[in-house]
């Protein structure tokens, strides 16, 4: 089995978010970056588990600048066999999808793994785009994945429930909570990661169809209005008359 896991780098959850004065760019100064949790905890770990059970290899791929290599090495420490970095700023989901699809096109992967979304731009776009470019089935928000021969069974999260389905290999999948358990890289993993291959590939040209006009911070909350715990009628009145939500 040959698996591709697409990993992105995002600001840490607790990072303070700010932008350049003109609102055009994310201010990365002082921000701690991590591997996108869905990519790391679920997609990558499940791909590694399946490789451990069935044999084959796991390739971790990131579209990003050289500064992302710490994150890529972490994917190798967790268990990927090799890594590929497509050397470009990930400007948009469509750009990233194009780069991933062009790379994967001739590599005969049995499955391509994504996280359900990135925690920075929250798009949930790249996986579906890659599936369409490569004309593959796409199973999104999978909380369970098992392989049996040439077919795979999935459970996927839907609004208010779970869908159980089956698809043939090859396929594209996006992982949500439940697909695997987070793994902390061990010392041996960290040591061997240093010697595993990390290939750098140049991007293919792409024309953007979406421009970022600007970023801004949401308006500050007016501040909490405290209500006497003895007087819940007052809270109900406020929710009805002021907030108008009941």
């Amino acid at each position: 089995m040959k698996f591709l896991v697409c990993i992105s780098q995002t600001p840490d959850t607790t990072a303070k978010i700010s932008f350049s004065a003109d609102g055009k760019e994310f201010n990365a100064a002082g921000v701690q970056f991590i591997m996108n949790p869905y990519d790391e905890w679920y997609a990558l770990v499940r791909a590694c588990e399946l490789r451990e059970a069935l044999g084959g290899s796991v390739v971790a791929l990131n579209v990003g600048p050289a500064s992302n290599e710490t994150t890529i090495r972490k994917a190798l420490a967790i268990g990927a066999d090799e890594a590929v970095r497509i050397n470009a700023e990930p400007k948009s989901a469509a750009f990233v999808a194009k780069q991933i699809a062009e790379y994967a096109r001739n590599e005969q992967f049995d499955a391509i793994f994504f996280g359900k979304e990135t925690i920075d731009y929250n798009g949930s776009e790249v996986g579906a785009m890659v599936a369409e470019i490569l004309d593959l089935p796409y199973i999104s928000y999978a909380s369970k994945l098992d392989l049996n021969g040439n077919a795979a069974t999935f459970e996927r999260d839907i609004e208010g429930g779970v869908e159980v389905l089956e698809a043939d290999l090859p396929f594209v999948v996006s992982a949500s909570k439940g697909m695997a358990e987070q793994r902390i890289p061990n010392m041996r993993g960290i040591m061997t990661a240093r010697t595993k291959p990390l290939k750098v590939v140049e991007p293919v040209p792409f024309e953007e169809q979406v421009e970022t006009v600007k970023f801004s911070l949401p308006p500050a909350k007016a501040g909490v209005k405290l209500v006497d715990p003895e007087n819940m009628d007052e809270l109900v009145r406020l929710l009805h008359e002021d907030a108008k939500v009941i």
Partner: protein, 320 residues
Amino acid sequence: MVLVFAESPRGHLKKAAFEAVTYGKKVADLLGTSCTALTLGTVDQAAELGRYGASKVLNVADASFDQFDSQRFAAAIADVAKNNGAKVVIVSHTSTGKSIAGRLAVRLDAGLVSGVSGLPEVSGGQLTVKKTVFSGKAIAEYRITSPVSVLSLMGNAIKPDASGQSVAAENISTNAGSGRIRVKDVRTQEGRVPLPEAEIVVSAGRGMKDPSNWGIVEDLAETLGATTACSRPVADSDWRPHHEHVGQTGIAIRPNLYIAIGISGAIQHLAGVNNSKVIVVINKDPEAPFFKAADYGVVGDLFEVVPRLNEAFKKFKASN
């Protein structure tokens, strides 16, 4: 023309579909054009979509669409979009819509903005739209420069407006190829509004101490017709089912009213709920970080406050 894909899971149009058509009609007005709604597979009351603003309702009455496959759905929607010269294609930002949106963008060679939360600004026929990014910590504005745009609409971003006239659905056929996904089973939790669609959410955390204490939360939710949710440690220790877990690693929601009971308000929790319109926090610790993100706060013991609040809501409902 603006084309809206109206989801009909298990044969029924849901709130997300009515929101998407209401939004599509407003986008069509801004562009000086009309709004067409499309349904795939078995659907009851497709004509209803006219009331939400569709001047035309198309249905592909092919039962093979009763099973979801993003590949076939995107092929069918793109086919209808092309045949009708759609300039904007809108889907809901649901598990279904999100799986289709990226595919549609590729098929239609269109720019995509997913999870939009407000109406676009239109200039020179181009759309500029807003969405929240960084898990609710910022807002981004994007301009789509391609001739065709694809948008997915965030739930609860617009109020469905049913002031129009119903329109008889027209049966059409499309070429969507054969599917490669076999749906074996769908397990749904009956009787509740799914969390992403809920207008009122009552949520509780570790402050509840023990799963056997959840009765007061259930009672409050019952009175309000609300859906229940929980913090992550509560789901992780199996006090509550996993599908109730909201936050960064769970579900992101934006109800009109979010009532947080015995939840501290960690940043990862807030990431999933801070787009709620109104937040009420009940916590005995006045220093709990959640109060900073709240609109209304009650500092007190939840075991006393929650039953009292329930009685107050009951009294209010009886007199209104």
